[in-house]
């Protein structure tokens, strides 16, 4: 029961399941609320576990389906096809046939453990890695394991985690911090939320391990206020871990103290940047500062601080339990392990997928995602959020990892993967991102503050049909200048969606500025709504909905749209039952 599942009606399903089981008198079947299993497209989902049998998954389980499934699974009857699921992933600690495409390390417990019950997590080897580290390893050997595993930051940059920890560990200061970045500002990505809602203890455990390795006794989770359920579950998890002595003083009798507190963000994309994040944790405006000094030398309260993303941390306990070689054996040469992608947009099976690095985009979109919605043509995938770029059809077979994505002008980012089809206009998408970064710019440096605004204005002109050919050159020049001169990662990457779409969809931009046409019809300003006067029967449905009253009767019964007044809202088009209104 994560945010999406609850929105799709999981609470009702939960109650219906309990009721159905009670009716059958099956008191030995326990219904447990778990986190997201990643199959967002068919929420609410349930998983039935019977010892000694492979788990069974069901999707679209509304109240009615809950009763049917209870009957069929524990007795007679057949499950409707719609509810049968084939998800196909293997957990990190269960070796499968290798045929299945997903492999879950960071999400290993999501959908299996009850996030509000620490005993569930412990039953899945929870806190065993922390115990192992505190009892058998010195901090240096922990650093060595993480370095050897090849784990890189999953928040975007891809910096090797072990080396980041090492840099903090080297500092002689007594007071050090480890911060978990749970700000997840990237629009279109929700893996951090899912991990925190579905398996909060794995993050707490990893922070304690990181604290031990780097010499920090205090952990801080910086989390978005927009994630109320994740905040609630973290609070419960911290309290439970404290009660069992897994956080707090003298953990496992090792003499190591570690505590974790929560700090709420308040909505600012730039706070995902580590120096800005630290200022926000300090209660200041989340403005970035120039590096060096790096946070590992002078971070929170000017003390050495490690900042790690949620997904990065979620990998750590598995690495300790299964060994560095096991982790390094998964993925590609320079990108080890798996990556969680939020596969969303115009794809049939939207959801969270975790695959080994090096899986191709085609496998993710077609094999796991089930292809494009409504049999439309694939156009592009936007990865890396506002810092990334688009991947086109010619790169569908590129094995994706940190470096290959960079080579084709995009980036891993936090792993948002927005699939777009033939009806999506690339200029409009670029404008959308620029609108976002422009609004989220902290305003501290000029290239970002003014540069992104100017870029947005140019794009706005183009999408309105008022662009000139010279605008394209201006956009490119401005974009490249901002990349070179902005202060922080936000500004340096802000032009990427524009530059990358310009690179791959140049002709589309040109069509916008020379012919003033948007072929997909997405650019509202270039649309023209027209009434076929011989099809119009004069029902006045369009007249009633037109917010600007620009539709008038010209010749009984036909109506006409006054183009000079039309705001292109499309309301008339939506209500016309006689196909008398067309978009051009």
């Amino acid at each position: 029961m994560a945010t999406c599942g609850i929105a799709a009606g999981a609470k009702n399903t939960f109650n219906a399941l309990e009721k159905a089981l009670k009716k059958k008198g099956m008191s030995d079947v326990k219904v447990s609320p778990v986190g997201c299993i990643g199959s967002c497209y068919c929420e609410p989902t349930i998983q039935v576990n019977i010892p000694g049998q492979a788990p069974a998954y069901y999707g679209y389980v509304d109240e009615a389906a809950a009763g049917i499934i209870v009957d069929s699974h524990f007795g007679e009857g057949e499950v409707p096809e719609r509810n049968m699921l084939e998800i196909g992933f293997e957990r990190a600690d269960q070796e499968g046939s290798g045929k299945k495409r997903q492999k879950r390390i960071a999400l290993r417990n999501c959908g299996s453990v009850d996030p509000q019950n620490i005993m569930d997590y412990i039953a899945y080897r929870g806190y065993e890695a922390l115990g192992k580290v505190l009892e058998q390893k010195d901090p240096d050997s922990v650093l060595e394991i993480i370095k050897k595993s090849g784990l890189r930051g999953r928040g975007g940059g891809g910096y090797p985690t072990g080396y980041k920890w090492h840099a903090t560990a080297l500092q002689p200061a007594k007071e050090k911090y480890i911060i978990c970045n749970a700000d997840e500002g990237d629009p279109g990505a929700f893996m951090d939320r899912s991990i925190l809602e579905g398996d909060p203890h794995s993050v707490l455990e990893a922070m304690a391990i990181g604290g031990y390795a780097t010499g920090a006794n205090q952990g801080i989770i910086y989390i978005r206020a927009e994630y109320p359920l994740a905040i609630e579950r973290l609070k419960i998890a911290i309290a439970q871990a404290k009660e069992l002595g897994l956080l707090g003083e003298n953990i496992f009798g090792s003499g190591f103290d570690f505590s974790i507190e929560l700090r709420l963000g308040a909505g600012a994309f730039v706070c995902g940047e580590e120096t800005a994040l630290i200022h926000s944790v300090e209660g200041e405006r989340g403005e970035p500062t120039k590096k060096p000094p790096y946070p590992s030398v002078s971070g929170y309260k000017e003390k050495p601080t490690t900042v790690n993303n949620v997904e990065t941390l979620a990998n750590v306990p598995s690495i300790i339990l299964n060994g560095a070689d096991w982790f390094a054996g998964i993925g590609t040469e320079k990108s080890k392990g798996t990556k969680v992608f939020a596969l969303v947009g115009k794809v049939n099976r939207v959801g969270l997928v975790e695959v080994p690095m090096g899986t191709t985009l085609r496998e993710i979109i077609y094999d796991i995602g089930g292809g494009i919605n409504n049999d439309k043509e694939f156009r592009a995938v936007q990865t890396g959020g506002p810092s990334g770029g688009v991947i086109t059809v010619e790169h569908l077979d590129t094995p994706i990892d940190y470096d290959s994505l960079k080579e084709i002008g995009s980036m891993m980012g936090s792993g948002g993967m927005i699939v777009m089809d033939e009806t999506d206009c690339m200029v409009n998408i670029a404008k959308f991102y620029l609108g976002f970064t422009q609004e989220e710019s902290c305003g501290k440096c000029t290239p970002c503050r003014i540069g992104t605004k100017r870029m947005y204005e140019i794009l706005d002109q183009i999408t309105k049909g008022e662009g000139q050919f010279e605008d394209l050159e201006k956009l490119e020049r401005l974009g490249n200048n901002i990349k070179l001169s902005a202060l922080c990662g936000l500004g340096q990457t802000a032009p990427n969606p524009v530059l990358s779409t310009m690179k791959y969809f140049r002709e589309e931009y040109e069509r916008h500025v020379t012919d003033h046409k948007c072929d997909t019809g997405s650019c509202k300003g270039m649309r023209t709504y027209r009434i076929f006067e011989d099809k119009c029967i004069g029902c006045r449905a369009c007249v009633k909905v037109c917010p600007v009253h620009c539709i008038k009767m010209v010749q009984k019964p036909a109506h006409r749209i006054d183009q000079t007044m039309c705001t292109k809202c499309g309301a008339c088009f939506a209500v016309c039952k006689y196909e008398a209104i067309v978009v051009e």
């Binding site: 939320r193 109320p228 700090r263 209660g283 939207v350 998408i429 991102y433 499309g570």
Partner: protein, 177 residues
Amino acid sequence: MERSKLAKVKLPKEKLLELDAYMDSLEDKEGLLIHILHKAQEIFGYLSLEVQLYISKRLGIPAAKVFGIVTFYSFFTQEPRGKHTISMCMGTACFVKGADRILEKICLELGVNPGETSSDGLFTVKDVRCIGACGLAPVAMIDDKVYGHLTEESVKEILDVYRKEEQHENQHAESAV
């Protein structure tokens, strides 16, 4: 509400006491300014200039700093909100699935622009960055409740539920009198 009218509004005592109690319970007061503002917004509904001045006085920090933080973060608001807040997600997944049309429809239905409150005081419409429920795109949140797979048709249905509820409450209140 106009500024001049706003200035005359006295902060209710019991709410101030609640905020005081929260501030007193914190050790690192200045470092937790953002938390204090979250709490204040929860108590008062919005961060009026009075509330900001009060907090700055209590913490002994310049009002400009408090103001600087309130205006920096999009979660904080200085304007009173309607009874329900509609947060329309404008993340990329929602955008490609037509979130802009849904937002337009909501605004049209309520006669407001994004950021404004409907004249009956029932709804405030906000466009927000991703709320992380991309699987259900396009998505909006009304207060804490998430509504997914929105269509232009479903907007009115959803709003009507809240409107009916309000009507019901009003009738109830009247009959009680």
